[in-house]
Amino acid sequence: MKKAVSMLMVITMLLSLAGCGGNGDPGGEEKNGEYTLTVWYWGEQEAPGYKAYMEEMVKRYEKENPHITVEAILQESDNLYSAFRTAEAAEEGPDIQYMWGGTQAMEDVWKGNVSPISDYLSEEDLSVIEKASLLETNWDNKQWGIPAYGFTYGIAYDKEAMRTAGVDPEQPFNTWDEFMECCRKLKEAGITPLGMGLKDGFLPAWIGIFLGQQNLNSVNEMIDLMSGNESFTDEKYAEWLYKIEELKKAGYINEDILSLDLYQGQQTIENGTAAMTLHTQAYAVSLEKSLGADKIGFAKAPVFGDGKFADSIASPSQVYVIPKSAKHKEGAAKFLMFLQEEENIKSLYEMANVMMPNVNFKEEWLTSEVDKQVMKWKAENQNFCYQLYFAPMFESDGLIPTVQKMFSENLPPEDAAAELEEALKKCREQNPEVHEAFVDWSIAE
């Protein structure tokens, strides 16, 4: 008997351990309209200062609405999606979730993890946001995401290196031929023209954003390609792979590309080992501020294609969505509109160097040369971001390994195109339902 008692004690000890500890999570308790709004966000990693901005927003919002507490939690890159999908599967998600734009947000829409934001916001509310930016997460005649901030891709370059090589540092290139000429001069001057990092796999999509869209005429063409109505082996779609090969063969890319991560590759321009790198405007601005406007330039991708998007710029937005299990959807929508208020988008720009794609964004706020230039591009060119329309899994199972093989195993571009075609086929096979929703997307446009 004694044994049994002591055993039971051990068991109850273990059980009580499982039972205690939690001081009761706030969750859905509402007393006299008081509630807690949970926000899971990201962004500090690509827009330094975003965390401070978010904390400031929370402070302001809580001051305006004393009955609301906002709990904003910065997520790591590794768990932005895993934490959300896990919590959502148990219907314990946050009230507001941050997502990377395009398919990366739509996938969760299609999987049923998201509520349409347009159920809680009127068209008038949404009219302050740039149309192109809204379209990125519009599907089935509903609006699913609302921009957290936008940013623009470009080639950051070292003006000093351009001067050394005898290239005009203000206008180094426009066309592909001029770009190759610029690279040749840099190489002759003993400077590595392009510094990039391929190890962690983010780079292939980046290269696609600069070069992949150049023969395309519409978003629907991209969706046709991804959904198998068009073939990747067609030169129209594969030409950019040949351009990569061209750069590689000519020796214009850093030779340690395979052992650097994306960020490390980008930093080659800061530590002086390369003259150019693929960058975003937010980082180029921070370089401009630390090194000076006469040191860092920011250029558009060189043009080789003949599609309508040949000279387009990529200025996508990251988005916020309201998860299906959110407990305070109205409150979430209200907070998201609060972030769109003029004063707050100004703070966003000042604190985190990123622009809100909002019609109230004022050009006179701009303080940096890079930003002024980006503003001009946005006024003059179409906005299209290749990566936003990737079929689910296309990047991880197709683009990343294939482009890595082009560098590590000298895979020729025609074989690379064939591999991408295969990968797309596999993605469709493995996600037939999501694929259907994906095709719907093009009709909705």
Binding site: L14, K111, G201, S259, E395, P401, S408, Q430, E433
Partner: protein, 285 residues
Amino acid sequence: MKKRKICPYLFIAPAFMILIVVIVYPIINMIYQSFFSSIAGQDKFVGFRNYKLALSDELFWIALKNNLKLFLCVPLLTAISLVIAAILYNKIWGWRIYRSFIFVPYILAIPVVGIVFSYLLQYNGVINMLLIRIGLPGLASDWLGDPKLAFPSVAAVIIWKQFGFGVVLFLARMMSIDQALYESADVDGATWMQKFVSITIPQTKSIIEFYVIITLIEMLSWVFNFVYVLTSGGPGNKTTVLEYLIYKKSFGGGDFNIAMAISVMLLLMAGVLVVIHQSILKKED
């Protein structure tokens, strides 16, 4: 008599209750999910579709092959650890220092190890710099970027980090071997090697067996973090392992249910390991 029968179950109850909640239920859920397709919050029965898709994916086979290659590390790890443990057991000069340091790699966090080694193994990294400095520039390579070297490099880092566990484990067992056995062998004039083979190894057998099984399972389903921090599965999928594939399919965009099918197959493989293990044990008896 009745008491006696209940008693063992009471001993194992706490552990099994936790295991049922934390592992067994998730496994049942995993098996269930592997036969369904979840879309828009609805589960649809699809039979073996997820398994077929997983098996027809080239990536699965690449990953499986890499896991099997990692199995080759197990005899190597076991042998290295045993020999080192035996050397330390003999109390060579400075053995306390060695013993202290040998376990240190094991206690480091994998992200820490991953970051440090990626600086060492980079093309413009420290190891290549040293190779050039000592006059062997021919050996300098892109350790993590070369498709032939990437996987062996990852395996080497795994061995570097893990071997200390074996040493400490074996040493712990050896220190509790009855000294009288060695003393009587010394009287018989046995050499170090003879004592190692006829006393140390048989006495350590049950721990060796434990170590081999644990390490095999580690190589099957606990190497994800190494791959994640060192190579992200690249270049060109050369270093992908099954667990990394499961992670990518569950959370990195893709079909969660296929990930569950792969997990079930992983579990079956572990089951096969157990059966082999059991039959070897029976043969020895």
